[in-house]
């Protein structure tokens, strides 16, 4: 007799089991102390959870200008990287400052989707997504989160206000869904905007190729891009 898997226990608690599946689960629980005790453990976790307040960082998610548009309905959960390129411009819009150029995308866009990019920022209430129009300043710690959209290789790069391009890594994690960059960036006091690039490609690129991709050359690369708005005076709020 094999035990009930962990997901089935959750489904049972949440009333998602029906018909035969429900019957089988209940029969098994009546006969199996291991599984009843696992279910009790989940219920105890639930009881402790309900008693605790909702963290501010979770509330903050609801306060972000969350992208909810009809085209999101096309998104199939877990079918892989299916976010439309539109998600990029949308995310970018959240952090773009007035007067700063729109995201550059190599004109002869190669096959595949652009990596979607978002920026998280460390604030006293926790690390959370940067809000629409929210400025950043010197000393702020930011974290890039991106969706590789099926790219085999991901490179991360930045361009500061002086136009200098810096390649942070040519070998960032790939995967399905949102991936965190393997490091946080601390902003310095270079004046002007700070841009961040996520370069997806079907093979690993050299540092020079990443720089060229950032500057607009193609190399089979797909470039997701955000512009951070720097706070006046550059200081931390």
């Amino acid at each position: 007799m094999s035990h009930l898997n962990t997901l089935v226990l959750h489904q049972l608690r949440y009333g998602e089991l029906r018909g035969d599946a429900l019957l089988r689960a209940n029969e098994h629980l009546a006969a199996c102390e291991t599984c009843s005790s696992r279910l009790r453990a989940q219920e105890a976790e639930r009881a402790a959870f309900v008693a605790a307040p909702v963290p501010d960082a979770i509330r903050a998610i609801g306060a972000t200008a969350a992208p909810v548009r009809s085209w999101w309905r096309d998104w199939l959960p877990l079918a892989g990287a299916l976010l439309a390129a539109a998600s990029l411009s949308l995310v970018v819009r959240e952090v773009r400052t007035d007067g700063v150029t729109s995201p550059e995308v190599a004109t002869a866009r190669p096959k595949g989707e652009l990596p979607a990019v978002e920026v998280w920022v460390k604030r006293p209430e926790g690390t959370r997504p940067l809000r629409e129009g929210e400025p950043v300043g010197s000393g702020d710690r930011i974290q890039l989160v991106y969706d590789p959209h099926g790219a085999s290789a991901i490179a991360l790069a930045g361009r500061d206000g002086s136009g200098r391009i810096e390649v942070y890594t040519t070998n960032a994690p790939t995967g399905i869904g949102l991936v965190r960059a393997p490091f946080a960036l601390t902003l310095d006091d270079t004046p002007g905007s700070q841009e961040l690039f996520v370069v997806g490609s079907d093979r690993a690129l050299s540092e020079d190729e990443v720089k060229e991709a950032v500057a607009g050359a193609v190399h089979g690369a797909r470039v997701g891009h955000v512009v951070l708005r720097k706070r006046e005076g550059g200081g931390r709020r």
Binding site: H3, T6, A41, E45, G62, W75, A79, G126
Partner: protein, 183 residues
Amino acid sequence: MVLTRTSRSATADARASRMESLDIEALYRRYGDLVQGRCRSLLRSEQDAAEATQEVFLRLWRYRDSFRGEASPTTWLFKITTSTCLNRLRTRRRHPEELVDETPQLAGPRDALVSEIEARQLLNLLVEEEDERTRAALVYHHIDGMTHDEVGEMLGISGAAVRKRIAVFREKVRGRLPGLEGS
């Protein structure tokens, strides 16, 4: 009901945004224990688990339209939470300087079918596996007790393919997974 759609046509923006903020709380109150418990048991770090939980809810919030139509919201969350945690484990391994304080006593619900030690052995070795689906397959099978076919359904591949991936991994780590050698 948790998943009510907020009306955009008839309400002022301020009210709409207030409703949205109520919505994320409602979703969190309904499903947060599943996500948080899973993050804790896979990550073993209170801070990491809190960040991963937040990441999962951000994704849930993003995709809430499609989430509403899910026949099994818990399956959706279970998958997303698992992949979020496994990505995080690998990132942590590659950048040990970013390691947060470990809290060995920390535990999610003891709903796993293997002992703490066996689960730790497996999770530590998983960071060596490049393929995301194989990592998830190993967790679903060994820690959550899913059959090969059930894992296949979760990952959209056949049960036979799951069996093969698991066998290849076990061969690779032979002798280093004593608790699970026979299973």
